[in-house]
């Protein structure tokens, strides 16, 4: 098994990085990195950490080739080596993380999640209306891991603020059962991407075939999160098994309309990626463009009302003109 951290990975260009991931089962996880400069989206660190923890748990070896890039300190500061139990030999003077990044976190239960959310908010140094969606996204994604992933190592979370683009980038990864196995408890998707598309559809959850969900799952969580990225005209991606769905930046000249079918979004999706045993979610939120969270809720409410009208319409009997 081998992961190479290239020069630059962000959600827009993450596809080649994922495709280069060698998933061949071996007793060693080899991690290498670009020699001169490495700049990666937090979701990449979450993935490396998730797979590393899994390998550790299975008693396998992690071989992290000594990074030579000038930016190697980033891995150390984000806590990658520490979490994986590796000696990096990189000495750094830790600068204050507040307002800049959230180091890699391994969250295994609700108590840890509550504590993390409480501690994270002041770190973001943002106005409440900007903090709101970030808190919401992290909470819901980590809860998804607890409820659907059956992950022995919990959820691996990482986030970083990019001053130049005024963007928060968030990554959550796990090495649990994956979306297909989870959704297959109630549906029969043939492929991983089919399962992902089902999971993104509002009203569909792996816990029941009943549209609207159960007393504890409405099947709306991922739809809400994807909608946040869509309204904000940002990237969102979900990768599980061999499937990857990526919501592309909604063009600025186009209005934003929420749709139930994720295929109808401005998105790319495929089922030919290396098999990731678990689920990975990455999202960007540009704080400049940031639409009011309440405005998003209005759009979602409007979406449900239209869906209701459509349903009522479908029930009408229509005259047959011959």
């Amino acid at each position: 098994m081998r992961i190479h951290l290239p020069n630059s990975v962000w959600l827009g260009n993450i596809d080649p990085f994922l495709r280069a991931f060698d998933v061949l089962e071996t007793d060693v996880l080899e991690i290498s990195s670009h020699q001169k400069w490495v700049s990666v989206h937090p979701v990449v660190l979450s993935m490396v950490c998730a797979i590393g923890l899994k390998m550790r748990r299975e008693g396998k070896e992690i071989k992290f080739y000594k990074p030579t890039a000038i930016s190697k300190h980033y891995f150390e500061r984000m806590g990658l080596f520490k979490i994986l139990g590796l000696e990096s030999e990189i000495k750094i003077r830790e600068h204050e993380s507040a307002g800049r990044f959230v180091t890699i976190q391994v969250i295994k239960d609700s108590k840890q999640l509550d504590r993390f959310i409480t501690e994270m908010v002041p770190l973001l140094h943002s106005e409440p209306k900007k903090v709101e969606p970030i808190r919401y996204i992290i909470f819901e994604l980590v809860r998804n891991v607890f409820e659907h992933a059956n992950s022995d190592d919990g959820a691996i979370v990482c986030a970083q603020y990019y001053k130049k683009s005024n963007t928060i980038r968030i990554g959550v990864a796990d090495c649990g059962i994956g979306v297909k196995k989870s959704i297959s408890q109630s549906y029969s998707p043939k492929t991983d991407i089919e399962a992902i598309l089902l999971a993104l559809t509002p009203g569909i959850t792996g816990t029941t075939t009943k549209i609207g969900g159960t007393e504890s799952n409405a099947g709306a969580g991922l739809f809400f999160i994807k909608s946040l990225a869509k309204v904000d005209r940002d990237f969102f991606m979900i990768y599980s098994g061999e499937g990857m769905y990526k919501l592309l930046k909604n063009p600025k000249h186009k209005g934003v309309r929420l749709v139930a079918d994720p295929i109808k979004d401005h998105a790319s999706y495929n089922n030919n990626y290396p098999d990731w045993s678990g689920t990975v979610v990455g999202i960007d939120l540009c704080l400049d463009e940031h639409a009011d969270f309440n405005a998003l809720l209005d759009l979602i409410r409007d979406f449900y009302q239209k869906a209701r009208k459509q349903k009522i319409k479908e029930k009408y009997k229509h005259p047959r003109f011959v």
């Binding site: 609700s110 999640l113 509550d114 959310i117 409480t118 409440p128 709101e132 808190r135 919401y136 909470f139 819901e140 809860r143 409820e147 009203g203 009943k210 549209i211 609207g212 969900g213 007393e215 504890s216 799952n217 409405a218 709306a220 969580g221 809400f224 969270f293 309440n294 809720l297 209005d298 979602i300 409410r301 449900y304 009302q305 869906a307 209701r308 349903k311």
Partner: protein, 97 residues
């Protein structure tokens, strides 16, 4: 009329569905019956997730019917929480519970 202070159980952010489930099972459903009224006081709660609100009230609507909303009062809700409650109650009616 019974009043439940959500903040005392969740703090400023209501996201933990396990807590929502406890409130629903041990307080709302136990008390509300066919006639009783209940107040869910959100003062101090800045925001909530859709999952939390769903876990809090969807099964109450399922079990008691949509008219139960006439006996549940949502007090001191922020605009965000009001909107999320509205979304959940509306999609519950769409799905015919």
């Amino acid at each position: 009329m019974k009043e439940i202070r959500i903040f005392d159980k969740t703090g400023a952010f209501a996201g933990n569905k396990d807590i929502a489930r406890d409130i629903r099972l041990n307080e709302i459903l136990k008390y509300i019956g066919d006639e009783n009224k209940i107040v869910l006081d959100f003062s101090g709660v800045e925001s909530a997730t859709q999952s939390f609100i769903h876990a809090l009230i969807s099964d109450v609507i399922r079990q008691r019917g949509i008219n139960v909303l006439e006996r549940i009062y949502f007090k001191n809700c922020s605009i965000t929480i009001q909107k999320i409650i509205s979304i959940v109650t509306e999609y519950m009616q769409e799905s015919n519970y």
